[in-house]
Amino acid sequence: MLTPDMSVDMRTYLAHVELANPITTAAGCAASGAELAQFFDLARLGALVTRSITMAPRAGRPTPRMAETPSGMLNAVGLQGPGVDAFLELELPRLVERGARAVVSIAGGSVAEYTALARRLADAPGVAAIEVNLSCPNVEDLGRVFARDPAASAEVVAAVRTTMRYDVPVVAKLAPDVADIVAVARACVDGGADALAMINTPLGMSIDVDTMRPSLAAGTGGLSGPAIRPLAVRCLWQVHAALPGVPLVGMGGVLTGRDALELILAGACVVAVGTALFHDPYACLRILRELEDLLKERGFERLADAVGLAHRPPGAGPRHRIDLEESSL
C-alpha cells in the first residue's frame, strides 16, 4: 500500500518509447499544439499527437462540419491541414522546442502516399512515434476505408514500418466499425505495428428535422465523445484479450480520470483525449491528476499494474464469471 503522500509511478511505454505519463491528446483534436500551449506546458503531456498529416495541404470538407448528438458529436473536418512540408518546417520544430513528445499521425489515400509520408518523416528529429490513421478512403479500392479491411490495413502498416527508422514505433489506429476488430488488429501486428490505437470515430450521421437535410455538409461524419466509450472499452477488451502483449492506446469519450481508468483496466497503457479538449483546454492535465488520485486510492504504486486488470480472473465467486460470447443480446 501507498502512504497518502507517495505518488504513483505514472510512466508508461508506447512500445519501447517511455512516456512520463499515459495521457496524450487524440489526433486531430489539438491542431498543431500551439493553441494548447497557451494554456499549459505541452511537456506535461505523455505525448502530443498531431492532427493527421497528409502529403499535400488540404482544405478539408465544407461546413457545417460539426453537429452535436446525445453525449457525442459528429465531425467531418476532412483532414484540413498544411501538408507534410509545412508541418516539418513550422509545426514539428515548435513542438520540439516546447519540449513536447510528438507522436505524428499520418493519413494517405494509397499505400504509396503513406510510404511517402513515412519517408519524409523518417529523418525528422523529434518524432517520438508514428500513428497511422487507417480511417482514410483507399483511392485504389473504390474509396473503401483501409481500416475496414485487414489486408489493406496490414499493407499500409508494413510499408510504413519498413520505411520508418527502426527505433520509432509505428502505431496503427483502428476504427470500430468492422465486424471483427481482432482480425484487423492481428493483421496490423503481423504487418509490423508496434502498438495499436483505438478507437477512431465510427461513421455516423444526423439529420436536421427543421431543414430536413443532413446536419453536416458532408452528410456523414465521425462520431466521438462519451457516447462511443462503450465501443472503445469493448474494442480494447477484445484486442487485449487476443493480443495481450501488444501495447494499446485507448481513446473514445474520455472526459474524466474515471473514464481513463476504465480504458486502462480494459487494456490501454496510453489514453488519448479528444472531444474533451473542445470542452476544456486543460482536460488532459485534469484527467491525469484525477487518474493518479484514483490509482492512489486503489493502492496502486504503478500505473502499469492497472493495465488490463479487469481481465484477471476475479478472486472467486460465480457473480464475476465472465462469459465472452460475442453476441450483443
Binding site: 495541404p57 482544405a59 478539408g60 470538407r61 457545417p64 460539426m66 453525449s71 509545412a86 513550422l90 486543460y282
Partner: protein
C-alpha cells in the same frame, strides 16, 4: 481562460435573455468583439460542446462581470435560459480576435442584426472614448428582436432601425438604409455583427463606398479556441490566396471584403488545399493568415 462564474442577474429583454455572470478574469481581459464559450447542461450533460456567445457588456462589479444576450434556439440555450441568480456557469474566454479600432478619430457606422447588436455597444464606447463619431443601424425581423434600440439612441449620433415586418423603424433591412447612413455620416468605416446574409449585404455596401468594413461572423463551433477545425470559412489572404480559416481564432471579426461570403459552405476550387485544386508549394503559404 476557464472560469467558473456565478450568475448575478438574469433578465428578459424583449425576445432575448440576458445573463450577467461574475467572471473577473474574463472581464479584465475583455475587448469589444470578444466572445466566450459556455458549458451547458450541468454535470453529466448530454451536450458535450460549448456554446459561443458574444460578450455584451463587462462591468467592474464584484471584481468583474460579463453579460451575455441570447435567444433560445435549441437545448443548450433552453438550459441557459433556466439559469437563476447564484447558479454557477462554466465559461472560457475571452476568445477570438476583437474588433480592431482606429488609431485616430473617425466616423464609424455600427450595424447590428438581431442579437448581433449586443456586441456593438462596448465597441461604441471604445470608439467614442477615442473621439469617434458613432452611428447605429439596427435591424431584425420584428420589433421584439431588435436588440438595444434605446441604448443605441442614447449613444449614437443617429440611430436607424429597420424591421422586416415594419413593427419598428423602417420596413426593410439594414442594407436598405445603410447607404444613406454612410453618406450622411460621411463614414470612414463600418462595423457589423449579425446573421451571415446581413454581413454579406453590409460588406457589399461598404465596398461600394470603398470604406473598410469589419464583420463579426457566426459559424458553428465545437471548441472556440482553434483546435477542432470545425468553424472555418473561406477567406482571402493578403497574398491573394484563399484559405479555410478558423472563425474562432482568426475571427470572429474579419475584414468583410476578405470573406468569400458567396462560397461559405463550400470549399472554393481555388482555395489552398482544395480537392483537385492547387496545392501551394513551400510551407510558408500554408499558414493561416487573413
Amino acid at each position: 481562460m476557464q472560469v467558473t462564474g456565478t450568475v448575478l442577474t438574469t433578465r428578459r429583454v424583449d425576445a432575448y435573455h440576458a445573463l450577467t455572470v461574475v467572471a473577473p478574469g474574463i472581464a479584465e481581459r475583455f475587448r469589444p468583439g470578444h466572445f466566450v464559450s459556455v458549458a451547458v447542461g450541468g454535470p453529466r450533460t448530454s451536450m458535450p460542446t460549448r456554446r459561443a456567445f458574444s460578450v455584451h457588456d463587462v462591468k467592474p462589479d464584484y471584481g468583474g462581470t460579463v453579460e451575455l444576450v441570447f435567444s433560445v434556439r435549441g437545448a443548450g440555450t433552453s438550459w441557459l435560459a433556466e439559469r437563476k441568480a447564484r447558479d454557477s456557469l462554466d465559461l472560457v474566454g475571452p476568445l477570438g480576435r476583437p474588433f480592431p479600432v482606429p488609431r485616430d478619430p473617425c466616423a464609424c457606422v455600427l450595424v447590428g442584426g438581431e442579437y448581433g447588436s449586443a456586441s456593438l455597444f462596448s465597441l461604441a464606447d471604445t470608439l467614442q472614448q477615442r473621439g469617434c463619431r458613432v452611428d447605429f443601424v439596427l435591424g431584425a425581423a420584428s420589433a421584439d428582436r431588435v436588440f438595444g434600440a434605446l441604448r443605441a439612441r442614447r449613444m449614437g449620433e443617429t440611430t436607424t432601425l429597420t424591421t422586416e415586418d415594419g413593427s419598428l423603424g423602417l420596413r426593410g433591412r439594414v442594407t436598405d438604409v445603410l447607404p444613406s447612413v454612410i453618406a450622411d455620416a460621411r463614414a470612414d468605416v463600418v462595423y457589423a455583427s449579425g446573421p451571415m446574409p446581413m454581413l454579406r449585404g453590409v460588406t457589399a455596401v461598404a465596398v461600394e463606398f470603398d470604406i473598410p468594413v469589419q464583420v463579426s461572423v457566426e459559424e458553428s463551433m465545437a471548441c472556440g479556441y482553434g483546435v477542432c477545425m470545425t468553424c472555418v470559412l473561406p477567406v482571402l489572404g493578403d497574398d491573394g490566396v484563399t484559405r479555410m480559416v478558423r472563425s474562432c481564432v482568426e475571427g470572429p471579426v474579419f475584414r468583410g471584403e476578405r470573406v468569400r461570403f458567396e462560397d461559405i459552405g463550400t470549399i472554393p476550387f481555388d482555395a489552398l488545399g482544395a480537392p483537385g485544386g492547387r496545392a501551394q508549394e513551400g510551407g510558408a503559404h500554408t499558414r493561416h493568415v487573413s
